[in-house]
Subunit: 198 residues, 4 copies
Amino acid sequence: MTVKRKGPKYEKIIDAAVTVIAKHGYHQSQISKIAREAGVADGTIYLYFKNKEDLLISLFREKMGRFIDTTIDEIEHQKSVEDKLLTLIEMHFKQLSVDHELAIVTQLELRQTNRELRAKIGEVLKRYLELVDSIILEGIDQKVFQPNLDIRIVRQMIFGTIDETTTSWVMNDHRFDLIALAKPVHDLLINGFRYRPS
Amino acid sequence: MTVKRKGPKYEKIIDAAVTVIAKHGYHQSQISKIAREAGVADGTIYLYFKNKEDLLISLFREKMGRFIDTTIDEIEHQKSVEDKLLTLIEMHFKQLSVDHELAIVTQLELRQTNRELRAKIGEVLKRYLELVDSIILEGIDQKVFQPNLDIRIVRQMIFGTIDETTTSWVMNDHRFDLIALAKPVHDLLINGFRYRPS
Amino acid sequence: MTVKRKGPKYEKIIDAAVTVIAKHGYHQSQISKIAREAGVADGTIYLYFKNKEDLLISLFREKMGRFIDTTIDEIEHQKSVEDKLLTLIEMHFKQLSVDHELAIVTQLELRQTNRELRAKIGEVLKRYLELVDSIILEGIDQKVFQPNLDIRIVRQMIFGTIDETTTSWVMNDHRFDLIALAKPVHDLLINGFRYRPS
Amino acid sequence: MTVKRKGPKYEKIIDAAVTVIAKHGYHQSQISKIAREAGVADGTIYLYFKNKEDLLISLFREKMGRFIDTTIDEIEHQKSVEDKLLTLIEMHFKQLSVDHELAIVTQLELRQTNRELRAKIGEVLKRYLELVDSIILEGIDQKVFQPNLDIRIVRQMIFGTIDETTTSWVMNDHRFDLIALAKPVHDLLINGFRYRPS
DNA sequence: CATGAATGAGAGTTCATTCAT
DNA sequence: GATGAATGAACTCTCATTCAT
């Protein structure tokens, strides 16, 4: 049967899943535990999600969708390419800084899923990577970045650095100020890409 | 009950584990499947490893240990900091390029393990990160890199970029030439870190 | 809480149940599927039936009740014992021939129920078996059948043969002409029972 | 993985399944209950059977296979067609009379399974029906039975009668002497089929 | 009368680990 | 040392039934 994809319980279940996974880890997050956290019966989850995998993908889609939307919004207000990249990094760090649970889930726990699920998660990330690409292209276009940059490599450098930094922050129990790293990270990246005609 | 950590079967079992995990994925790699691939009985595995987790950690330790040793060896032959960093990147890409199975296991499959196991894997990586750190420090020391670099950030930038690039290569079924990316990746990184006194 | 046993929806639900069970099989005939087929809400079914078992029994009672009434009616018009038995067989075959869905449900699907339910179904069949018995007794009485017949055995022979023939017809997807078998079946039965004083 | 289809536990599990199903009914015969009855762990059942359905089919195949083999053996010792048919009926009644549990399982419980499983059970029965057919053909051939008999109908008459009689005996809690019915049932059947050239 | 969202008990199956041989 | 048969805990999902609206 088809499932309802909205309603207050839909949100409540997703939030409960984030909480439970952050607290107990992916492999210890049984449906019954999530249901209890959400204050619903086990069966109720199946009124809103096809199965457990569907819940996890929905979780990622909802949370990352909002994450990406907000980031895009903010970037559009920036004029220069440098500010756009800075905003990208800042927004990434900010949004995960204010939601430690979500950070744990996206950086650590959801990566423990099987290949199939990770592929679907990858699709959600596509929009994010396209956003990164658009900034890179604009930078090249405006001669702020070197003309012969390999987009793919630059994208992996930006994303790899941000991701590794965030993961490191999460694994250190959020002990340092992640947001404060946005500026120096940005500097190093820009520095690497910058066009310096001699 | 302590276990034997050497002997021909020890190696055989680890290699079998790599093969099975690369082929079937982490969650489809049961002890019995690994035993069959290794040509031993299920119980025999427990003569050499405390349990399944111990086998996986040993696998990572053995394989990454050799990986790091070889990398350190090669770097010692390099004079300049630039060449050392280049060698680090090249060795990383080369060693995974010649062993697709290992690449799949370290980049994709072993990340599906639980927090506890990943923490132990992290310890193995410490030596690698210390190697990276030593290069960075040398670069700063020799005024090749900016004096005020945040070591931690630079380390995450280097490792994050290399890791993300490799993962991307694995997820694209090793379709592009990973080794060829060493030079451009190196250029961008060095470019970012370089000291440019005005 | 007592239920209503009449009204247009009562019939509609029973017919929906026959259709759904014939199409999807007993174990794939959930209340919600029957409700959808009947064009009512799940809960509505519980206004007309105590529970699912009650619905199935009611289904059998309604359908078989009419089946038996019609058969009795027709038999009353027959004079000879031979014709009465022939009519019994013909009516059985005819009524199931014109309603393939009902045939599937009574011959195959409703037999997958538990002992308790089948016992109740057995009670509905009692009237049918009494009808058979009355024909046998009349046959003996009129010296058409052997005087020392074991009623029980003869009843089981008649019912077993008719039932097995019908089931075989259903399992062969109604591919042969069931009604055409009435005459030869009747001949063999009568032949077996006939009184032949030497 | 493939399963072992022999060994003492194989037999023990099948016998336990018969006992449990006879006692608690098909739908109340969980794997754990069967395992307990067999004195093995739940998982052990899966060393010998692919899944629950496989266990049920194996049960039927083993028990009915032996049933049919014994019946064929016994029939081969009979000279006349009449005696062969009598032996068929007697053996059927005898073998179920001495094993009340098996009778309950084959007559009542195993019929509650889904269509798919019943189809596989049907295949096992094929040999039995072929045996019946061979007797019928021999009877016609030797001019003991009428020359124009419809084999299919006769087969259904024989099987339907035997089956209905047995089921009736089981549903009456084995209260009457089933074996004693073999003779009169046989008489009625033979009587029905006999060739009487005028 | 009718609805349909919510409930929650219940069971087949997998697989890491043990231990008698 | 090596074997592999046996163990048994653990979890997702279905669906008959209820009851507030």
